[in-house]
C-alpha cells in the first residue's frame, strides 16, 4: 500500500463520525466557549484576568481534552463496538494505514472543533489584559491559570492556539490507542483527564512529565512566553515527550489492531 494515508478509510471515517447526533456532542463545547466569551466581553465583567481563565482553564483543560476524547475514541471505537470494523479489516489494507488515517481524521476534526474555536474566542477576547491583581481563592479553581495576564492578548492567543494544535495531535493518539485497547475507552480517558491531569498535576510536579496538557502548555509557553500559563515543562521537553507519547500510542494501536479478534459470540 503506497503511503500511510488511505483516502477511502478517511472518507468512511468522516462520514461515520459526522453522520450521527454525536456530531452535536462535540460541537457543543465549542459553541459554549464562544458564546461564553462573547457574553463575558459584552458584559464587561468587573474582574479582569478572565481571558486566561476562560481560554486557559476552560478551553485548554476542559474543552480540548473532552472534544479530543469524544472524537478520538469514536473514529475507531464506534466501529469496533458495533462490529463494522470487520469489513474494513477483511481487506489487504495495512493496519498501520488504518490507524494513521483515522488518527489524522480525528486530529483534523478536533482541531476544527476545539483549537479553532479556542483561537476565535481568544481573538474575540482580544487584549483582555489586566492589572496584576492577586487572584482570589484559586485553590478552589482547577487548572493552572492563576496569575495575572500582563502580555498582549494576541501573542497569548497564538501561543495557546499552537499549544492547542499540539494537544490535539497528542490527545488523539492516546485516545485512539485507548479505544483499541479497551471497550471503556471514554471512561478511562475521563479518569485520565479529570484525575490525572487536572488534579494530580497540580499537586505532584513529577506527574507533569506524563501529562498531555502540560506538553501543550509547554509549547504554548514557548510561543507566548507567558508566566501566567504556569507551564511546568520547557518547550524542548514538551516537544520531545509529546512526540514520544504520540509515536508510542500509535505504534501500540497498530499492534493491537493487528491482533483484533472476533470472539465466538458478540459480547
Amino acid at each position: 500500500m503506497s503511503g500511510l494515508f488511505n483516502p477511502t478509510v478517511a472518507w468512511i471515517t468522516v462520514r461515520a463520525t459526522l453522520s450521527r447526533k454525536r456530531a452535536l456532542l462535540f460541537a457543543l463545547p465549542a459553541a459554549i466557549l464562544i458564546l461564553f466569551t462573547v457574553a463575558l466581553k459584552a458584559s464587561r465583567a468587573p474582574m479582569r484576568p478572565w481571558p486566561s481563565h476562560v481560554l486557559g482553564t476552560f478551553g485548554f483543560s476542559v474543552l480540548l481534552p473532552l472534544t479530543a476524547l469524544i472524537i478520538g475514541t469514536s473514529v475507531l471505537g464506534a466501529e469496533i463496538d458495533d462490529g463494522s470494523i470487520v469489513h474494513l479489516l477483511a481487506t489487504p489494507v495495512r493496519r498501520s494505514s488504518v490507524v494513521v488515517t483515522k488518527f489524522l481524521v480525528a486530529t483534523g476534526l478536533t482541531m476544527l472543533f476545539a483549537a479553532v474555536p479556542e483561537l476565535i474566542a481568544a481573538l474575540i477576547a482580544g487584549g483582555g489584559t489586566a492589572p496584576p491583581t492577586a487572584p482570589a481563592g484559586t485553590t478552589g479553581s482547577p487548572g493552572t491559570f492563576a496569575g495575572p495576564v500582563a502580555i498582549s492578548g494576541s501573542k497569548l492567543a497564538i501561543g495557546l492556539f499552537v499549544g492547542a494544535l499540539a494537544c490535539c495531535v497528542i490527545y488523539n493518539a492516546v485516545f485512539l490507542m485507548l479505544s483499541v485497547a479497551t471497550t471503556r475507552a471514554i471512561a478511562v480517558g475521563l479518569l485520565y483527564v479529570l484525575v490525572w491531569e487536572v488534579l494530580l498535576a497540580n499537586f505532584v510536579s513529577g506527574v507533569r512529565l506524563l501529562s498531555v496538557s502540560h506538553y501543550g502548555l509547554g509549547i504554548a509557553n514557548g510561543f507566548a512566553s507567558d508566566s501566567a500559563l504556569q507551564a511546568g515543562l520547557t518547550v524542548l521537553t514538551s516537544v520531545i515527550m509529546g512526540a514520544i507519547v504520540t509515536a508510542a500510542a500509535l505504534a501500540l494501536a497498530v499492534n493491537l489492531l493487528s491482533s483484533f479478534t472476533l470472539k465466538g459470540e458478540p459480547a
Binding site: 500500500m1 488511505n6 477511502t8 478509510v9 472518507w11 468512511i12 462520514r15 461515520a16 453522520s19 450521527r20 458495533d82 462490529g83 463494522s84 470487520v86 469489513h87 474494513l88 479489516l89 477483511a90 481487506t91 489487504p92 489494507v93 495495512r94 493496519r95 493487528s258 491482533s259 483484533f260 479478534t261 472476533l262 470472539k263 465466538g264 459470540e265 458478540p266
Partner: protein
C-alpha cells in the same frame, strides 16, 4: 486454494472451543455443520484470520500449487484471495449499498472499483436497491450486500458465517444457487450452518463439528447413509415381553433383543421396517403393546454416534 488445519485447538481459559481438529478444505462448496456451540464460529474466525489458534497450524495455500502456505492470522495480504461474510449484522448503515461495495472495492485496490462493484451487486440481484441507504434494508438484503462486498474482488476463497440466518426460503434458494455456481467455478466456498436440511441441496463435502471435535467429514450423501444405517435402539413394553422378544429376533430388521427389567431393548438396523413390523406382529400374536420408545433420536445422539464411529 486449500485451507489446511493441522491439530488446531482453541481454548478460552478452561473452556475448549475447538479440540484438535485436522482437516483440509479444497475447491468446491464445503459446509461446516454442527449444533450451536459446537465451535463452528470459532473455526470460521480462525480461518478468516480473526482468531489465532491456541495450538496447531492453520494455513491457506496459494492457488494451483504455487503454494507457500501462509497463516491467516496477522496477515492482511491473505484477504486479496479471501472474502469474508461475517455473521454479525453490522454494516456501515449510513452508506448506500453501492457506496459500501465500491468502497470495499477501493480498499482492495481494484483497478476499476465502480465496475467491479456493479458486477458484484448485479450478481447478488441488488441493483435496484443499491442506491438506498443500508439502514433501510431488510435483513436478507443486508446479508446479500455483505456477500456482494465479499465477492467484489473475485476471491478464490469465500467464507460465510451462518449465511442463511434470517433469510426466507426463496432468498435461501438463490443464495444456494449462487454458492453452487461459485463452487463449480473452482473456488473454495466454506459456510457454516446448524440446519442439515438447509444444506441438503448443495452438493459438496460437509465437515460436521460437535463439541469442538470433528465428527464426520466427506460427502454429504455418504454421511447421511451412514446415519440412517446406524442401528436404532427401541425400548418396548408389552403384555408379554418374552414372547414378543422371541418373535422379534426372527425378523430380518432386528439385530439384537435384550430382556431387561424395564422391558425389551431392541436394536434394529431399519427404522422404518421395524416400525411397520412391530404393530403387525403384536396384533397377530395378541400381544398388547404398552410402550414403544426410540431411545436415541436427538441430533446430539446422531452426532455422538458419528463421533464414536
Amino acid at each position: 486454494m486449500t485451507i489446511e488445519l493441522r491439530n488446531v485447538s482453541r481454548w478460552y481459559g478452561n473452556v475448549v472451543a475447538v479440540n484438535d481438529i485436522t482437516m483440509s478444505i479444497g475447491p468446491g462448496v464445503t459446509g461446516l455443520l454442527g449444533p450451536n456451540g459446537a465451535g463452528k464460529s470459532t473455526i470460521m474466525h480462525m480461518i478468516a484470520g480473526f482468531l489465532p489458534p491456541s495450538r496447531g497450524e492453520l494455513t491457506i495455500t496459494g492457488p494451483g500449487g504455487t503454494g507457500e502456505a501462509a497463516p491467516s492470522w496477522r496477515n492482511p495480504a491473505v484477504y486479496r484471495r479471501v472474502g469474508l461474510v461475517p455473521e454479525r449484522d453490522s454494516v456501515y448503515a449510513f452508506l448506500t449499498g453501492e457506496q459500501f461495495v465500491t468502497a470495499t472495492a477501493r480498499l482492495h485496490e481494484l483497478p476499476d472499483p465502480a465496475a467491479a462493484a456493479a458486477r458484484a451487486i448485479a450478481t447478488l440481484d441488488m441493483a435496484d436497491a443499491a442506491d438506498r441507504k443500508i439502514a433501510t434494508y431488510s435483513k436478507g438484503m443486508r446479508q446479500r450486500i455483505k456477500v456482494a462486498a465479499a465477492l467484489v474482488h473475485d476471491p478464490e476463497i469465500l467464507l460465510l458465517d451462518e449465511p442463511f440466518n434470517g433469510m426466507d426460503p426463496r432468498q435461501r434458494l438463490h443464495m444456494m444457487e449462487l454458492l453452487d455456481k461459485l463452487g463449480s467455478e473452482g473456488r473454495t466456498i466454506v459456510f457454516s450452518s446448524h440446519i442439515l436440511e438447509e444444506v441438503e441441496r448443495l452438493s459438496g463435502t460437509i465437515q460436521v463439528v460437535v463439541a469442538g471435535r470433528l465428527a464426520a467429514s466427506g460427502d454429504f450423501r455418504a454421511i447421511r447413509r451412514l446415519m440412517t444405517s446406524r442401528p436404532h435402539v427401541f425400548t418396548v413394553r408389552s403384555s408379554d415381553d418374552r414372547l414378543l422378544g422371541g418373535i422379534l429376533i426372527g425378523r430380518p430388521a432386528v439385530r439384537a433383543v435384550e430382556l431387561t427389567r424395564n422391558g425389551l431393548q431392541v436394536r434394529t438396523s431399519d427404522y422404518g421396517a421395524f416400525c411397520r413390523d412391530i404393530a403387525v406382529l403384536a396384533r397377530d400374536h395378541s400381544i398388547r403393546l404398552r410402550e414403544v420408545l426410540p431411545a436415541d433420536e436427538s441430533l446430539e445422539s446422531v452426532f455422538a454416534y458419528l463421533v464414536a464411529s
